[in-house]
């Protein structure tokens, strides 16, 4: 069937374009303008050229925060994606269990990020927190405010608790869309549980997994509120991710020029990695067809 071209449709896109312009493009342009200037407030700016970019790119503080962020995102994806798939595979497909599981899974997603941070900040405390008190009573000297490994473990477990549900719900949506005929054909062929997963369920979940991986990567790479509330970036700088470092620089130190340069580098890294993820996953999908 031949497509009908109607240029009036462009006007329907206009509100979204205006919204994106005001919420993303204009702020981004302002950040680019700030990144080549210095300011001490009062709307007065002094040309700095590429100095802030050189300063950030040669700063060990930036590279340390970037590595911490990359490791954090890799760990988060390595845990949340397989765990999310596993939970989705074991969730009931019919009956009363479905709404119960869906509500339980949705609960962590409904909690505001700063509240999640506060919950875990209290939960992990040695004096009044259930987790901290329990671990210490077992003889494990857990203290996330003093030990970097414990701080990392707490932040990772908190993120897994908060966001695995998103992967679960997306995977579950993919799984319930598979017609029963596929499973019946697999049973007739005597397919094993692994074969059903490998050749029926995983390919059908691929699109939602792409969304899940992209969302979780971008979110974990931009994480700020939860670790800031729990650890404040410490102990030392052990949980200072790029976003925390950026806020310290922009608001704590009022170094708006270097902070703007760092924001642009940060944005470009997210753009590059998201494009790589998206391309790899959509191309492998296209090759299978």
């Amino acid at each position: 069937m031949e497509k009908t071209w109607n240029n009036k449709a462009w006007f329907l896109v206009l509100p979204v374009l205006l919204l994106v312009a005001f919420s993303a493009v204009i702020p981004l342009m302002t950040v680019v303008n700030y990144s080549v200037q210095d300011t001490f407030g009062n709307n007065q700016f002094f040309w700095a050229g590429t100095d802030w970019f050189v300063e950030i790119l040669t700063s060990p503080r930036f590279w340390d925060a970037l590595w911490r962020n990359l490791i954090f995102s890799a760990v988060i994806l390595a845990i949340e994606v397989p765990l999310g798939i596993l939970i989705a595979l074991n969730m009931p497909k019919h009956g009363l269990g479905v709404p119960v599981c869906l509500v339980l899974m949705a609960l962590p997603l409904l909690i505001p990020w700063n509240v999640v941070g506060t919950i875990w900040q209290v939960f992990g405390r040695v004096d009044i927190g259930l987790l901290g008190y329990f671990l210490n009573s077992l003889g494990i000297s857990y203290n996330y405010t003093q030990n970097p490994t414990h701080a990392w473990a707490t932040v990772i477990v908190m993120d897994v608790w908060h966001w695995t549900s998103l992967v679960v719900l997306l995977c579950y949506a993919g799984l319930v869309s598979i017609p029963d005929a596929y499973y019946q054909a697999a049973r007739i062929d005597g397919a094993s549980r692994w074969s059903v997963f490998r050749y029926i369920q995983l390919p059908k979940m691929k699109r939602v997994l792409l969304i899940a991986v992209l969302l979780r990567f971008m979110d974990s790479f931009m994480i700020y509120t939860e670790p800031f509330v729990v650890t404040g970036g410490g102990p030392g700088n052990s949980t200072t991710f790029l976003s925390i470092d950026l806020v310290k620089m922009a608001i704590g130190q009022f170094d708006l020029g270097p902070a703007a340069a760092m924001s642009i580098i940060y944005f470009l890294i997210i753009l590059l990695l998201s494009w790589v993820f998206y391309t790899v996953m959509t191309q492998s999908d296209a090759e299978q067809k």
């Binding site: 680019v32 303008n33 590429t50 970019f53």
Partner: protein
């Protein structure tokens, strides 16, 4: 309406005008030759003209950053390298 809060400078204005001109030129190209010119290049997956522009701009940004980090503050050579890179992307990707 004053845009002084956006802290405009001539170099950044030229930068954004160039980006918007490139996007507008892509729109004209698409109008004259619809379909996006999809093809499979050296990356072994299908790309359209828009994809190639995106790869060119993103790659150019990283070329400039790498130059600043490893070379120095002068970006003319990085700009020349980016133009060569973009031509390569549009020719072979």
């Amino acid at each position: 309406m004053s845009f002084s809060w956006m802290a405009w400078t001539l170099p950044t204005a030229i930068f954004f005008i160039t980006i918007f001109a490139l996007i507008a030129a892509m729109g004209v190209w698409e109008y004259l030759s619809p379909g996006g010119g999809p093809r499979v290049g050296i990356l072994r997956f299908e790309t359209t003209r828009g994809d190639r522009l995106f790869v060119s701009l993103l790659g150019s940004a990283f070329i400039h950053l790498a130059w600043l980090g490893l070379g120095g503050p002068s970006l003319w050579w990085a700009l020349a390298l980016s133009v060569v890179y973009a031509i390569g992307v549009f020719r072979f990707v």
